[in-house]
Structures are given as structure tokens and as C-alpha cells.
Symmetry: D2
Subunit: 336 residues, 4 copies
């Protein structure tokens, strides 16, 4: 059985989650190297028997016996690390975003193009969530018609808002920080590019966010080149849990995904009504998707297939997120 | 427009509800007379302009200018009042039960039979609830197949249990008091008679009920002559509200009616999950059914049709409820 | 018991619905007069015993023995008929819209102001729907916080789209025709006025609509003066039935109203999954609301209360609908 | 990192599922040996690099370098294989049932008792399903009160009934074949033993089943020694998919588990209503539970804990299933 020797960079919350998947849930991968600037993080994977440990990414790329690298470092480092790895002949799986500017994204796109034998995949994991994947299948099969309206809500739990308040000044705003996943889904399902964007928002629960030009809740309305529409709502104040909800209006049937993000299959019939407890975080909501996206990446390497989500998708979503941010900041309608 | 002059006996909670329907929601009826032993109750309908008011039922039947009577008196008086009215040539709509013993029921049945020109309807209002009626329509049309298993839950709200605790010693037990509605539905849908019954229960929240031979929750399993099965659960301890739920397993499709008795169309996304507030009482849950059953009764009079629910249905349900009570009291399997 | 002698103008589908309510479901009203240019429609109410029948509205106002009038005529006649009735000393209940231009609306507003003893109510019946009313109660009581984001979907059933296609050229477009109800709810709940609107749409299923400047689906994003946001979607292509859905994001709790417009309480467990059949029309969805709004109107007359929904609400919603139409037609962001 | 060398016996559908879990989803286990009488099945695991392959169970137990064995062989072999493995000093995880008679079960119980250092776990995987486990946690924590009524539905999909029809004569009937999982849950949640059972059923869709003394749908009503009640329904004819549903009525709050076995988070709004597609098989429904039960088994070995589900649980469930079968066959109430 073919196993791909793999290194990982970044062992924070999401990085460790990816590392565990690589270590024990993906038989096609063999986690052999890891890189982090935090020694305690390296200790954790050392306990699993991983021996090629690095504090320098360049050193790992240069010296480690790996064929592929999984990048889970801070956003600002993605572009250069992708380029460095591909130029060293490694397959690359990188967390989103592809880059923090359109220029960076386009630079990565070119490097990916010049290495056609290497696989590059961008971590828009929602595409691998069984529900989102099934929606795409239903569209592609023609059984529900063509989508003309995409509605989304991505609302982080209120329970974790304190963390966001600290991070907000460096977040790039809700559009770059959060809505890129919705933008990617909209582009993927609709199959066209965004033409106009109007975006508004505010600090409704946390006025301090508004003062720094950020928002705790924001909305955008977009028109696509093919005429389709998208309504997006992003927020950091969901009382009941982590809400990622999507609606697809098609010319045959409409789909709604995750209207209630139930944490399990229990309904509680209690004094105040019938209640469904909800999921409280993205690692839980998208646990399967995080695993499936990497399984598919290794399958692409082994069976020489092109990954579903590539560098171009990263550039497109970044463009839209930047335009939404500009619309939000200026109060003007933006035409792309 | 033909209007049927009508009298009512019994103006308690349910009686007043019926009276209001007769007064202003059924154009085919004209409420002209009322009987109650409680003077305050008569005052209420007097304020509407009703002038033929009686404290004696016999007097109302003898003297009032009425063609029909609606009986909402205590259960023990139903049989004799039905008989008295029919023998005086009145159409009769009576609340359930038909009688408190099988003998009484059969006596009424005979009187009804001997007055074929008079309409008699028994108030099993659930049959008129739009959901229960639609289920019957789906069975009769053949679109869902033939039912072979009926499951029901009839659970009064915990919020009103104090009232039941006082009333319990005179209630006749959960089978005669409450499950007759479920029994009627089961007989109506399945179209066969009960052959065997096993029934158990207890005072799980209110042990004092067990001491007087009653129960706050009880279950029965029944086999019908045609082989079909029924599982029933009756209780007085529903934390979230008034729960009347029914499942029909058919040889094509299964139906479930009112799994969540939502009080309106609101879902509340709050700190403890997604919540649906529920209906808290039968007058609200079956408001439409109480109205529709009487509209149909007057339509039967005007258009000379036979009511859907007659005296025979009352005898059959009483037989089953008595057998269930016996099974519960003796701990034995009862064969009818 | 005080009964208000009432006339009605307009006996089409909605008019007849109102007439039936007045005839037999509102004891406080006495329907004594009716006006229609269609003789067959007058015949219907004649059969109920209504004798004051007119083909001329002015004649009914001048001659009929009525204290109140219910206006259900075509939109273009509302303003002048309201004015004529109030100047003749009648209480007026009028279907929406108040007028077809802001000027008309403001003219009516003034007439209403100059007759403070007469009651005027505009028929935004959704406010009387038990779920929408309960949402308002929850806001006003402070138990769910202050709404900062309103999302709505008003999607007419695909099954009735043929009718709309014929009517579309005279409809005024989706914003004036349909979204006024959503606009009224948004203004009512948010308690502020609209500042900016961006609106888009198209003929996704019926391209012929796009050619005449109309749309089968359209979306708007609005910012209110107090900072709140509204996302609206209107359409004429709902496959499963009549969908009117509303979400209220508040700074405490979020509410969702009618995510699934179930026609009854049945869930069907069949070969293709678990299915809920849906309501197919607004007369069914808002049956109770249509009744309750008129009951409240007559109660306002009898108990000298000011109706919840007045002329000013009509002007405000018309302004927003016209701005949305302009945004949709020009492709520009509109600032009010 | 400690890894437990493990062998597996039985590589059919469920066996292969367990083998895959052992091979690549449980880092604490190392699958090193396998036994099957079907050579093709052994070929599959050989492809993963497993080299200790046997057609004789006794040979695997005697010769393979293993500390633990996972038994997924036909029911009739469970008891003797468990005993053989434990007497050879192996930890044992066995699929249910423990044995096909009470005598066999009690024999196994004794062998397990005489090897206190070896871990034995019975595969009642539902206990590890996140929803069922959460229900148990809620009971144990006292937050929902004490359960007094357990209701269950275990209904295999109609889509797979053909397979059952062939297997039915050897199935032992619905109680031994299927309801043991429900019985185990009821005993686990209620914490008392069954006192009386009444059970009925029939061949409602497949009369041929009735002729061989089997049933396509069957119901039981049980009373426990502590007074609690259980209503069970087992079937092989679920039109919409694999339905395992459970209700727990407690003296505080009621729970309902999996009322709609949604296959994903999609709701389809289509021409015939709002539809939820359902799971079609137990390997999908209980995928996580099958994994978690084995993870816990290996954790019990490594950390010297006693498994949650042991031999005694196997005996108790078998006793109840046999009593239900007797009740069903004789038409009599059975007292244990």
C-alpha cells in the first residue's frame, strides 16, 4: 500500500487537528515531519513517534524526507511557503487563504501552473462536508436545476466572541476572515464571477468593533456575471452555537443546508418547549470535512488526479472578499 | 339561509367554548337556549342576547323552541339526556363519552336507531382536526396503504396536573378519562375491533395516584381482530405542553401527527439551543376541530346526511376503555 | 351587544374572504352593504340576506346605512375611496397599499389626521398573524433584545406563477406588489427608517419577465437610520408552496418564523424520505391574521382605540418599495 | 505509544467494517491477524499488509502473535470462541449476541469472571453512539430525572427486506435478531430487570413470514421490577430508511432520539413539500458508534478499566429477547 511521506507546518489548534488526521485517520499518508516555532507543540507529535522535527520551515523543506507538505501556518506565510515547497518538488495542501493580497494569490497561481506534476490543494473544506458535497452533486447531475440565488449565514458562537474581540484588529474584517468560505461555495455552486457588491454591517453588540472599522455582524448582496444573486450574512454573535447555513434556490428545487446545527440526534422535551442543543465550534461541525479533504488530496497524489479546489479558487475568493471589505468601508456599491 | 335553532346544556369550560362557536362561528346554527345549574354561567350567555335560559334540562327540552341540542354536561348525565332529547324529537350532538357503562351506551344506541330521522353525533372532535382528517383521507384514498400499527401518546401538560390530582378519584382512570380519544382514532383508522389488551402504568411522579388505583402514566398494547396492533401511552405529566401524537404505520407509507405540538411558527435560537414553544391545552390544540365537528353536525341536519361519528362508536370505545382499565387493575391480559 | 353596520367594496377573491369574515366570524360587525361592479359577486352576498347592494361606490357611501367600510378594491382606487368614506364620516379599513404613489399616500394621511374621531386601519394583516404578533411581543417585552438584522423571504408558489405572468406588466414590480408586507414588518420591528437600498433581480425561470423590467426573483439589502440591516428576497417561484419566512437577529436571541410552511401537523415517512406537505396560498397561511386584523379594527371603533397600523405606515412602506424599485431598475445604490 | 496486537475473526460486511477501523482508525490497535473461511475475504486484508492469515479460529488463537481478538463470526459461534480466546489469555471484544441460549450466556459469564485480568466487551455499540451516550450522561448527572418509560422503534429499511426474507427462518425471530439492541438500551437506562412481557406481531406486508412463525412488524409492552415500562416496536419495513428511534420519559424532562434519521443536513424544498432524505443502513447510522466502542475497548486494556458493556449484559438481554419470543409465539403474557 502506497503511503505518502508528509510534513506539516503549524501545530496550533487547527494544525494539531490536521496532524492527528494525518497520523491516524488517513492510511494513504505517513506523517514523518513537523515544523513549529513553539517547542511544546513539537513535543506533542514527538510522543507519537515523529522524529523529523523542525523550528524552521525552510529547513524542513530542504532536509526532511517528505513528498508532501500540509501548511497550517498564519495566513501571511501561506503564499511564500507554498511557493518554497513547490519549487522544492513537494505536493502542497494549504489552509485558506491562498494569500493576503490578490498579487500574492496570482504569484502562487503561476508557480502552481509551472509545476503541473505536483498537486496543489487549497483547504476550502466545506466542499468536502457531506451535505455541501451532496448539494454540488445534485446540481451537477441536473436533478435540482441551476442555482440562481445563494444565501448564507456564517455566524460564530457568541460564546467565543471574546477571542475574536482581541483578534479583530488583525483579522482583516469579517469578509476576509470569515466569509471567504461562503464566497468559495457561492462561486463553486453558481459557476460565475461576481460583478457587483454592496456590503454593510456594524458593531451591534460590540460597538468597539465599529470604532476600529470592523463589525460583529455584516451583510452583503452580490450580483454575478451570469445574473445570479448571493445574499451573505457573517457574524460573531450566534447565541445557540456555530451556525453555518446555506440556501440554494435553483430553477427546479431549493435546498437548505443546516438550518439547525444540532449537536446530536436528541430532542429535549422540557418545561420551556422542545429544544435542540447545537454544535458550538467549527472543528466539530466540519470534523469529517477536514478529514475528507486531505484523504482526497492524497488520493489525487496517488492516482494523479487534479484537486477539486486549486490556486485559482483562492485568487477568486480573495478578490471578492477584498471588494466586499471595500464596499463595507466606503458605503459604496462596488463593481468588479 | 336555513338556521337550526339550538339549545346547549352545560356551560363549564368546554361548554362555554361550544356555546361561543354556536353563537358566532356557525352561520347554520342559531343559539337560542341554554341550560346550566350555575346562574353565573347563564348570565354570560344572557349578555349575548340569549333569552331562553333554564336551570332544568327537562324544562329546556320540553319548552324551548329548539330543533337541536348540544350536550356538554357531566359524563354521567350524557346517556339519559341524549335519550330524553331524542324522544322529544331533537337532533343531538353530545360530548363524549356516550355513557359511563356499556349498558348505558347500548341503551342510547337503540334509542338512536329508533329515531332514524334525527341526527345524533358524538363529539370525538379529533376526527375533525385537519391533520387527523387528512390522515383518514389518505388511508381511504389508498395512497398510503392500509394501517397495521397505530401508536399514540396523549399526555396532558404537567402544568395542569394539580387539577387532575383532585379530579383523579372520580376520573374513572386514565383509560376512560383520556384514552377514549385514542381508542376512537385507532378503531376509525384500523377498521377492526380489539381482541386482546395488556395495560400497565403507575404513579411515577405522583405516587398518591397509584395508591388510589390510578396512574400518572400508563401504556397499553392491543391486538385487533384483523391482526393490526395499537400501542397507546396516556399521561398527565408532559413537561413541554399538551402532547397528542399519533403514528400510523401503513403498508405503503407511515404518518406521524404532531410530533412537536408547536404553539406557533416561531423557532427561538437562544443561549441553550434552538427551541420551539408548545401548546399548553386541548382547547387551543383542537380549537378548529371543535368548530368543524359542529359545523358538520348542522350540515348533516340541513342536508340530511348521517354523521361520521355515531352512537356505535361510543359503545365500541367504551368497551375498549373498560377492558384496558381491567387489564391495568388486574395485571392480566384481557381478551375481548 | 354593540354591532357596527358595515359595507364592503370589492368582492373578488380577497374581498369575498373579508366579506365572509364580516358576515359570520366577527360578532362585533354586521355586514349590511356591499359594492361590486360584477353582478355575480353581488348575487353571492345577496344569498346571505345582504340587501343594500351597489355597483357604485359613491352611491354606497352616500346612501347605505353604514358606520364603517372595508375597502378591497383594486390598488389604484384605495386612496380616493378612503378619502371619500372618511369625508362622509365612516370608519375605514383598507387593504394595502394605501396609495400607488407617495403623493397619494400623503394625501390620505392628511385626511385621516383631520378626522381624529374616525378609525382608519391599513390591512397589513401579517402583524396579526399569531407568530408575527408574538415576535413583536417578545421584542417589546425586552425578552429577546433589540433587532439589528431582519431577513425575509416572500415567495409565491410556482403553482400560481401563470397568473402572475399575465398580471406582471401591471403589478408595479415585485417590490410594490409583494415586498410591501416585508417592508412593513421590517419597519415595525426595527423601529427606524430605511437609509440606503441596493436591489437586484431577474427572470431566472421566466426570462420574459426580465424583458418587461420585472423579475421572478429579486433581492434587496437595506441599511436603516439606526444602523440595522434588512435582507429581503421576493419571488414567484416557490416549488413547495407559499413561503413567507422571516428571521429576526436581536442582541439577545434570534427568531425564525415559518421556516417550513407546513400545511398541517403530518410528517410523511415514505420511500423518498420524510416529507412535510406545505401550504399553497396566502389565504390559507394568513386566514387567522385576516380575521384578527378586522376583529381588532371593530374593537378599535367600539372601544375608541387607535389602530395598530395606520396611514403613516402605508406612506413609509410605499416610499421604501418605490426606492427598491428604482434601485432594481437603475442598478444603482439608492439613498433615501 | 502502546499498540495492542489484535486478531479478528469474521470478515463479512460487519467484520470488514471492524477490520478497517482496527487497521486505520484506532492508533491504539494494531491489526496483525485475521481469520475467515472465505479465502477472498482474507485476500482483502492481505492487501493491507496483514500477514498472519488463518482459516481456522483455533489455529489463530493458538499461533498468532496477538493480545486481543475481535469476534465478528456467526452468532452461534460467539460463546465458544469467546471462551477459547479467554482461556488462551486474550482480551476479547465480541459482537452481540453473547450466546444463542441463556445457558451459553451464563457459561461465558463464568469464564469471564474467572479471568479478571482480561478485558471482555460485548458489542452493544448503540451505547457509544454520541446521542445515546449523551442521553445516558443526562440521566446519570440527574439533570433530566429518572426514566420511567422507554419507547423504541427499530425498523430496518424496506429496501433490504428481500435479504431478511431469505434469512428469516434462521434469524431466531425479530426479538432475538433485532430488538436485543433496544432491550440492552432499556435495561441500561432504566437500571432494573424486566418482570412481565406481552408481545404481538404479524406478517403485514409479507404474510409468508407469519407462516414460518416470524413477523415483519412486532410490538412488545414490558413492565420492569422497579415499575418502569417499555414499549418496543421492531420491523423490517421502514419505507424511508433505517429507523432507530428512542424516547425516554423521565420525571423531569423527556428525550427523543433520532425521530428523523436524516442522512445529512440538507432539506429539499421541492414540488411535493419539504423533504429530508434518510439514512439507509446501520453501518452508516452507527459508523461512529462502531469505532468508539472499539476505541474504548483498547483504552480499557491499556488503562486497565472495566468495559462498560460486559457478559452480564449479554445474558440479561438474551433472557428478555427469549421471553418476548415466547410471548409472541404463545399469545400469552410472560412473567420472568
Amino acid at each position: 500500500m502506497k503511503k505518502i511521506k508528509t510534513g506539516i507546518v503549524g501545530l496550533g489548534r487547527l494544525g494539531m487537528h490536521h496532524a492527528e488526521d494525518l497520523f491516524c485517520r488517513i492510511p494513504e499518508a505517513e506523517l514523518v515531519a513537523a515544523c513549529s516555532v513553539v517547542p511544546e507543540e513539537l513535543e506533542k507529535v514527538k510522543a507519537w513517534g515523529i522524529t523529523q522535527l523542525y523550528s524552521s520551515y525552510s529547513e524542513m523543506i530542504a532536509k526532511a524526507d517528505i513528498e508532501a507538505v500540509v501548511i497550517v501556518s498564519p495566513s501571511a506565510q501561506h503564499a511564500e511557503q507554498i511557493i518554497e515547497a513547490m519549487e522544492a518538488g513537494k505536493h502542497v495542501f494549504s489552509e485558506k487563504p491562498l494569500g493576503v493580497s490578490v498579487e500574492e494569490c496570482e504569484k502562487v497561481e503561476k508557480v502552481v501552473e509551472t509545476h503541473p506534476k505536483l498537486k496543489f490543494q487549497l483547504g476550502f473544506m466545506r466542499r468536502y462536508d457531506p451535505s455541501y458535497a451532496e448539494a454540488k452533486r445534485k446540481i451537477d447531475s441536473g436533478e435540482i436545476g441551476k442555482p440562481f440565488l445563494f444565501k448564507s449565514t456564517s455566524n460564530d458562537p457568541l460564546a467565543t466572541v471574546e477571542g475574536f474581540l482581541k483578534y479583530a484588529p488583525h483579522s482583516g474584517g469579517p469578509w476576509l476572515d470569515m466569509s471567504v468560505h461562503d464566497v468559495d461555495l457561492a462561486l463553486w455552486y453558481i459557476g460565475s464571477e461576481v460583478e457587483t457588491i454592496y456590503a454593510i454591517g456594524g458593531g451591534y453588540l460590540y460597538p468597539e468593533l465599529e470604532k476600529i472599522g470592523c463589525a460583529d455582524n455584516a451583510c452583503a448582496l452580490m450580483k454575478f456575471k451570469n445574473g445570479a444573486m448571493a445574499q451573505m450574512h457573517v457574524g460573531y454573535s450566534s447565541p445557540h452555537g456555530y451556525q453555518v447555513e446555506t440556501e440554494l434556490y435553483c430553477d427546479g428545487v431549493n435546498l437548505r443546508i443546516s438550518a439547525i446545527p444540532a449537536k446530536d440526534r436528541i430532542q429535549i422535551y422540557g418545561r420551556d418547549g422542545v429544544k435542540i442543543e447545537c454544535e458550538t465550534s467549527w472543528p466539530v461541525r466540519f470534523k469529517d470535512a477536514f478529514l475528507l479533504e486531505k484523504k482526497d488530496f492524497f488520493d489525487c497524489i496517488i492516482n494523479d488526479r487534479i484537486p477539486v479546489c486549486g490556486a485559482k479558487d483562492g485568487t477568486l475568493t480573495t478578490k471578492v472578499a477584498i471588494a466586499a471589505t471595500k464596499a463595507f468601508e466606503t458605503g459604496e456599491l462596488i463593481r468588479l
